[in-house]
């Protein structure tokens, strides 16, 4: 039992580290699409002290007017949650995206067509994409009548396409943190829509806005304009600054996590070897009897490999069950942002992490068995222990 707990700790540690690395890598790949020359990503200055209560819709309209006239920008805002009937009884999240952001992200569809941004807001149906979880309730071609949370107007949405399962977006500044869009509605944002949108969408849209084909000077001009109208201080990070941020913060954190994991794994392996050797010393009489009647070190090696194979299989099965339950709990709790689809409940990053754990288990198993056998060979065997 002690050995099982030790090995489970090793596996759990490897699994969480591996999954974090895979998720960060996925986030980094996303970030790279925005990490091009001429792109400046907005970030509210952490040292500024904004007073959001003072911001009025007229002020934000001025900022967006200035943006529309002088810049090409990518805008994507999510987190507008509403109640909309669906078979899973999940809350539905609206994701507002403009054409530039849509082009950059290149979301994959499982059905239907991509978004059309040339619609007339308030005069015709708004073409939307729905997440995979809404596809059966709202198939391609169906319409949804709803009060849009961003404009507070009754709108007719027409489902144009269905996003691929587990379409996600990573947080720019925490690449291993993701929102999944299985219960989201992607609504195309154009100039008319922005004019009708609420203050919330305007302000939230500015938080992660990305200026395309721009310069540091133009970004600073926008910052001045925003500060003048809204009193908000933004930093606009370019490609190099974003990369440096990643290098300085995430790469460093990942290196530390990996180093700590490696040290803990070595400690755990030593503990496992010590545990095995103590067991053998405690059972030296039984061990000697086995050697007397024909147990060879190569047979002992096979026994050890089988033993650790069984233990690792049990720990992997427990890890799988915990992860599957963890994923399933998002469905139970109706947590639409994290509800995901996967084989036996596990999504691709879980499977990749499990494969990495399996690989690490092979190395740990090999290290434990070979070092233990080496140690055992140095224990003198004598009939004297049976007297």
């Amino acid at each position: 039992m002690g050995m099982l707990i030790i090995l489970f700790l090793a596996n759990y540690l490897s699994f969480t580290t591996a999954r974090s690395i895979v998720s960060t890598f996925q986030g980094y790949q996303e970030m790279e699409t925005l990490n091009q020359e001429g792109i400046y990503i907005a970030n509210l200055d952490p040292d500024s002290q904004p007073d959001f209560d003072k911001i009025k819709i007229d002020d934000t309209q001025k900022v967006y007017e200035y943006l529309n006239n002088n810049y090409t920008y990518a805008l994507q805002v999510d987190g507008f949650v509403t109640s909309l009937y669906n078979e899973y009884e999940m809350e539905v999240s609206f994701n507002y995206i403009n054409e530039e952001a849509y082009k950059i992200n290149q979301f994959g569809l499982s059905q239907g067509n991509h978004l059309n941004f040339n619609y007339k807001f308030n005069k015709e149906e708004i073409p939307v994409l729905v997440g995979a979880g809404l596809a059966t309730t709202y198939p391609v071609g169906s319409t949804i009548e709803i009060t849009d949370p961003a404009t507070q107007q009754l709108v007719n949405l027409k489902v144009e396409g269905v996003l691929k399962e587990n379409t996600y977006r990573s947080n720019f500044y925490a690449p291993n943190s993701k929102n999944y869009f299985n219960f989201s509605i992607f609504l195309p944002v154009n100039k008319n829509f922005i004019q009708s949108a609420s203050l919330d969408l305007h302000v939230n849209g500015l938080m992660d806005i990305a200026l395309l084909n721009s310069t540091k000077e133009k970004a600073m001009n926008l910052n001045d304009h925003i500060q003048e109208n809204l009193g908000l201080e933004f930093n606009f990070f370019n490609q190099q600054e974003n990369f440096n941020y990643f290098e300085d913060y995430y790469f460093y954190s990942l290196t530390i996590i990996c180093t700590i994991t490696l040290i803990l794994l070595i400690v755990i392996v030593c503990l496992a070897i010590w545990n095995t050797l103590v067991s053998i010393r405690l059972m030296i009489k039984d061990f000697t009897i086995n050697l007397l009647v024909g147990l060879s070190y190569s047979k002992l090696r096979v026994i050890f490999y089988s033993y650790f194979g069984v233990l690792f299989s049990i720990t992997l099965a427990i890890l799988f069950a915990i992860t599957a339950f963890d994923r399933y709990s998002f469905w139970l709790n109706k947590d639409s942002i994290f509800a995901t689809y996967g084989i036996f409940g596990l999504i691709s990053m879980d499977w990749i992490a499990l494969l990495i754990v399996l690989f690490i288990d092979l190395i740990i198993g090999f290290a434990i068995v070979e070092l233990t056998i080496r140690k055992i060979k140095s224990i003198p065997i004598s009939m004297g222990v049976l007297q």
């Binding site: 009897i289 009647v293 190569s298 047979k299 004598s382 009939m383």
Partner: protein
Amino acid sequence: MNSIIKLKIRKKTFKKKGFSILNDFELEVEPGEKLSIIGESGVGKTSLLNIIGLLDTQYQGSYKLFDTSVKDLSRNKLAEWRNQKIGFVLQESALINSLTIEDNIKLPLMYANIEKDLTVQDRFKRIVTKIGIEPILKKKPLECSGGQRARAVFARAVIMNPQIILADEPTASLDSKNKEKIINLLFDMNKEFNTTVITVTHDLDVANRHERIITLERNE
């Protein structure tokens, strides 16, 4: 007749303890011979059995068993020979307490991968019937008497029909009735299969019933 054991030990050194035993010791044993080794505690009786029984190869000298130099044998081959050519008759406590008497006896068969062999199963039945331990086969060692355990140890030693039996104080802690039983079983094996019997004992009565007695003495 050719000796099956040809042992020449220059010395066996215990580096940590800083002394050596069995200095310039020579031994030849013929097939079917009944040999007893006696001597005071610490002169190297058990160490000698460890060497003869292929448990210890760390000594200066040479050892030919069945005309094969033991030092040329791999660890796996040594284990195979311990399993198939040598039977160890030990004190009655030398059983694995977590296993039943039957499983203890069948342990060598398991390592030889022949536990399901019909002829082996037949031999198992004959042996346990002959030594009278059928009723205790499903019991754990601690549920049996000392005499029963001693017979179980004997059964395990002979289950592979070995050519050599090494007995290390086989009658220690047994009463005279059980002691007699074990000695008779050993000699019956010797008589029936021409098995070589080498017994280490403190008991002169037991030693005197062997054909040859070797007395080990402390090195100067």
